[in-house]
Point group: D2
Chain length 109, copies 4
């Protein structure tokens, strides 16, 4: 893993954190919150683990790879849930989640 890939992975985590937090807020304001329940749950967990993964990489944690592997799994689950919904915030979130999952898998490899 080059320094550039490392920095790209931190960037992807912070962007995914932002997209998930935006989506969490927007889902709570939708007319049909009921349908968004699983999305809200995963948005919270994904945003928080992305922040945790960024911190691990920024501090050169000996567990950075393992944390990124887990982050990739949660990002993928969150992306799969988000892409089911037509709202812009969900589609945008799914995109950030899949990109972050891909970067985290490279990091964990």
């Amino acid at each position: 893993m080059t320094q550039q890939q490392y920095e790209e992975c931190i960037r992807a985590c912070l962007e995914c954190m932002e997209a998930c937090n935006d989506c969490f807020d927007a889902c709570l304001k939708e007319d049909h919150v009921q349908m968004m329940a699983e999305c809200i749950r995963l948005d919270r967990e994904c945003a928080d683990l992305c922040a945790f993964a960024a911190k691990a990489m920024q501090t050169n944690s000996p567990f950075a790879k393992q944390i990124c592997k887990l982050c990739a799994d949660i990002c993928e689950a969150c992306g799969n849930e988000c892409k089911k919904h037509d709202h812009d915030h969900c589609q945008k979130c799914a995109e950030s989640c899949f990109r972050c999952a891909e970067m985290c898998r490279k990091m964990a490899a």
Copy 2:
């Protein structure tokens, strides 16, 4: 503030964190998620700030008092929202929030 009061405040924060996280999960499973949107939002924020306040006290942070003051405000807002709802998890959460708010105010004094 005595050592005993300090420890009681940490305990109150950790109990409030638990009650808020339980309530967050239970609200997402309710038949009328719509009505619970504000509760879900505040449960997340309150749980996370309670964890932050516990960490601040456990590490003897120079900002423990200021963090506890903010924690008291968020606990009170979360408690006021939760007590509007009849669900057991909301009533239980409101009780933990008000108790934590009281302990945090003493800590911040």
Copy 3:
């Protein structure tokens, strides 16, 4: 996993978070901080992941098992580092870490 084991694991995580945060603070006040550098690093990461794991269990996260598996690995690393040092806070922290690692492995099984 019974409900009782689940609650015991949350308890073990919160106790380990406290022991690690206490140890973090105490290490920074030691005469020979140099020797404690790795302990300080792991205390932070272990405390924060224990809080994360407790949150995951409290919210019935679909990733609770995977998070607990990772938590067990970090607790074990932190316990192994702490037990090298004679300070009471390190010995106490090692004990909490090993107990938490054990509970998290059962949870993840």
Copy 4:
């Protein structure tokens, strides 16, 4: 507060989080960890509160202003400690802290 100022404040918090986490890691690797103890303590707290403040803004928290006010105080304390030390990572961190404190104060106004 315009949308642009809001986004600049989130950006400042995430940059400050990164500078503090970099500094935390670098301080633990210095020859004289002893001298860096207060810096290490504040780096952790500042990084974690910056992440918390970014989350609050990203989710449109009703407490975003209060959290940013507290964040400004901690950033200022961390910046004042860091600027005492000649290491590049400390000087860079102080700069990020002061910039973040300034943005957070505007946000809280």
